[in-house]
C-alpha cells in the first residue's frame, strides 16, 4: 500500500511546496486582513515576473542576480500600483467585488504573457540554489548503503523552508512590535474607527500591497525552480490551492495557515508514495478538498448581516 522507502524523499519535496504555500498564504492573508482584498492575481503577477527573469537570463540582459531582482521589483511594483490606483476605487465594494477586480488583473496579465512569450515552449531557468543538491543519509547501517532516511534535496527546498519561516516570523514580530504593525492590526479590526483615530490607512495599505508583491516575486522564482519549468498557466492558478491553508486559518490566523500550508504540501507529496495508482493520480485535489472542508466548517453556523452588523 505504501512504499516506505519513498516516504522520506517525498516528505522533503512536500516541505518545499508547503513552504511556497506558506509564503503565498502569508502574503494573501496579511493583504486581505489589511485591505479586504483577496488577491487572485498573486500567481499571475509572480508568473509575469518570472517570465521577465527568464528573458533577462536568456538574452543576457544582466547578471543572473539582477534578473532575479527584476522579478521581485516587477511584482512589487505591479502589486503596489494596483493597490494605489485601482484598489481604492473599489473601496466601497464588498470583498467579493474586490476579489473580482483582482481576477480582472489576472486575466489581463495572463493574456499579455501569452502574447509576449512563446508560452507553449518549455522555458527553464534555475536558481543557483536549484543546481546544488545535498545528499541526506541518516541512520545508515554499518556498510552505509541502507539508510532509514535517504534523500537528495536541493538548496532551493531548504531556502524555501527557511524563507517561509523567516517571513512568517518577521510578519508576526512586525505586527506585534512595530508602530506600523500595530496600526495594521487596528485596521484589520475596524478600518473606519482606525481612520477616525488618525491611523494613516492609505500608507499602511501601501506597505501591505508592496510587501505582498515582493513575496509574490519570491514565490514566482521559487516555483519555477520547484516545478522545474516556467508554466504561466500553472503558476497563475497556483493561487487557488495556495488559498486553501489561508481558508483553514479562517482568513485570520497566520500561524494556523502556516502549518496548514506545510501539512497540505506534505500530504500532496506523500500520496505519491502510495503503491496504488489513484492516490497519486488525484493527489492534486488535496488542497481543494481541504479548502472545501474548511469552508463547510464555517458554514455550520449561519451568519446573518442585519443593518451592517453580523449576528455571529
Amino acid at each position: 500500500m505504501i512504499d516506505t522507502n519513498q516516504l522520506f524523499p517525498f516528505l522533503m519535496s512536500g516541505l518545499g511546496f508547503g513552504a511556497v504555500y506558506a509564503m503565498s498564504g502569508t502574503g494573501l492573508l496579511v493583504l486581505y486582513r489589511t485591505t479586504g482584498v483577496l488577491n487572485f492575481a498573486f500567481g499571475a503577477i509572480g508568473a509575469f515576473g518570472a517570465s521577465i527573469t527568464w528573458s533577462a537570463i536568456e538574452n543576457n540582459w544582466a547578471p543572473d542576480w539582477v534578473a532575479y531582482l527584476m522579478c521581485i521589483a516587477f511584482c512589487g511594483a505591479v502589486t503596489l500600483g494596483y493597490g494605489l490606483y485601482l484598489a481604492p476605487r473599489y473601496a466601497n465594494r464588498d470583498d467579493l467585488n474586490k476579489m473580482l477586480g483582482t481576477l480582472g488583473l489576472a486575466l489581463i496579465l495572463l493574456g499579455f504573457m501569452f502574447n509576449l512569450w512563446k508560452t507553449e515552449d518549455a522555458r527553464v531557468f534555475r536558481l543557483p540554489t536549484g543546481t546544488r543538491r545535498v545528499q541526506i543519509e541518516w541512520f545508515c547501517n554499518s556498510e552505509g548503503k541502507e539508510c532509514v532516511f535517504d534523500a537528495r534535496i536541493s538548496y532551493t527546498q531548504i531556502l524555501a523552508v527557511v524563507f517561509a519561516l523567516v517571513v512568517a516570523a518577521g510578519v508576526t514580530v512586525y505586527l506585534k512590535r512595530t508602530k506600523m504593525g500595530t496600526a495594521m492590526r487596528a485596521i484589520a479590526n475596524d478600518r473606519e474607527i482606525s481612520s477616525l483615530l488618525g491611523v494613516p490607512v492609505r500608507r499602511i495599505e501601501a506597505i501591505a500591497w508592496l510587501g505582498s508583491g515582493v513575496l509574490c516575486g519570491i514565490v514566482g522564482l521559487l516555483l519555477v525552480d520547484l516545478f522545474g519549468s516556467l508554466d504561466v498557466v500553472l503558476m497563475t492558478w497556483f493561487v487557488i490551492p495556495a488559498l486553501a491553508p489561508v481558508l483553514v486559518g479562517r482568513l485570520r490566523h497566520l500561524w494556523v495557515a502556516f502549518f496548514a500550508a506545510f501539512a497540505i504540501g506534505v500530504v500532496e507529496a506523500e500520496l505519491n508514495a502510495s503503491t496504488w495508482a489513484w492516490p497519486s493520480l488525484y493527489r492534486k485535489t488535496t488542497a481543494y478538498v481541504v479548502a472545501i472542508v474548511a469552508l463547510l466548517w464555517f458554514a455550520r453556523k449561519r451568519n446573518l448581516v442585519i443593518s451592517g452588523r453580523s449576528t455571529r
Binding site: L304, I306, S307, G308, T311
Partner: protein, 239 residues
C-alpha cells in the same frame, strides 16, 4: 399581549439583555433607551435571528421562541429594520405581495385586494406600480410599513422607522403607525429615538438601559420618570 420573561442574551462575555421581564399590553407600544441598550437585540430575538440563553416569549399564548425564524412571519410577526430594506428592484405592489404570498394562502383576487388595501392604508396609492428604487426615503419607509401590515399580522416590530426623515415626513409616518392597531388588530412595538414620534404613537412605553428594563407604563409617566431621564443624561430627551 406579548409576555416576555427573564430574557437573557449573551454575545461573548457581554450581556446584551440581562433578564428582561415585561408585558406589552397591546396596541402601539414604545421601546426606548440609549444607544446599545439592547433594543435591536430584543427585536432580533423576537424575529429569531438571535437565540437567547434564557427566557421565554409568550405571544397570545404561543411560545414564539420555539418557532424557526421564517415561520414566525407566517404566525404573524413582522418587522422593519434600522436601515430601510424595501426591495429596490421590485414595484411597491410586488414588495407587499412578496410578504403576503410567503405568510398566508390566498386566492389571486383576494391577495390582490389585500395588497392594494395595505398600500392604500399607507398612502402609497399613486405609486403602487412604481419601482421602489425610484421612490423617496419617506415612501420607502411607508412601503416597509405596508409590508408589515399586509395579511393578518399579530405583532409588528418597527425599528426606528423615522430615522433620517425630516420632521414633517415622520409626522405623517406617525399618523399611519398610530392607526395600525385599530386597522389590523396587531400589537405594534416601536423602537424610536424621536420622542415626539413615540409620544404621538404609543400609549404605553418600556425603557431599556444596558440590557435591563428600567421602567414601563403609560408613555407620559415613563417619560417623566427621573431614572429614565438620568439614563438619557447627555442624550437630551426631546420633551
Amino acid at each position: 399581549m406579548i409576555g416576555i420573561s427573564n430574557l437573557t442574551v449573551r454575545f461573548g462575555g457581554v450581556l446584551s439583555l440581562a433578564g428582561v421581564t415585561v408585558d406589552f399590553p397591546g396596541g402601539a407600544c414604545g421601546l426606548i433607551g440609549p444607544n446599545g441598550a439592547g433594543k435591536t437585540t430584543f427585536f432580533n430575538v423576537l424575529s429569531g435571528f438571535v437565540v437567547p440563553v434564557e427566557g421565554s416569549v409568550d405571544a397570545d399564548g404561543v411560545d414564539l421562541l420555539a418557532m424557526p425564524d421564517f415561520k414566525r412571519a407566517r404566525w404573524g410577526v413582522r418587522r422593519t429594520f434600522q436601515t430601510e430594506q424595501a426591495i429596490e428592484s421590485l414595484t411597491v405592489f410586488d414588495n407587499v405581495r412578496t410578504v403576503l404570498e410567503h405568510t398566508s394562502k390566498h386566492g389571486k383576487d383576494s391577495a390582490r385586494t389585500q395588497v392594494l388595501d395595505a398600500v392604500e392604508f399607507c398612502g402609497l396609492g399613486a405609486q403602487v406600480y412604481a419601482r421602489v428604487g425610484t421612490l423617496s426615503p419617506r415612501e420607502r419607509r411607508l412601503v416597509e410599513v405596508a409590508r408589515a401590515v399586509v395579511g393578518s399580522p399579530k405583532l409588528i416590530l418597527l425599528d426606528e422607522p423615522g430615522a433620517g426623515l425630516p420632521e414633517a415626513e415622520s409626522e405623517h409616518l406617525g399618523t399611519v403607525i398610530r392607526q395600525i392597531p385599530d386597522h389590523v388588530g396587531a400589537t405594534v412595538i416601536l423602537v424610536e429615538h424621536d420622542m415626539s414620534l413615540v409620544r404621538k404613537c404609543c400609549d404605553w412605553t418600556a425603557v431599556l438601559d444596558f440590557g435591563r428594563l428600567l421602567s414601563c407604563g403609560p408613555t407620559e409617566d415613563v417619560l417623566r420618570d427621573p431614572t429614565v431621564l438620568a439614563a438619557y443624561l447627555g442624550q437630551e430627551v426631546e420633551a
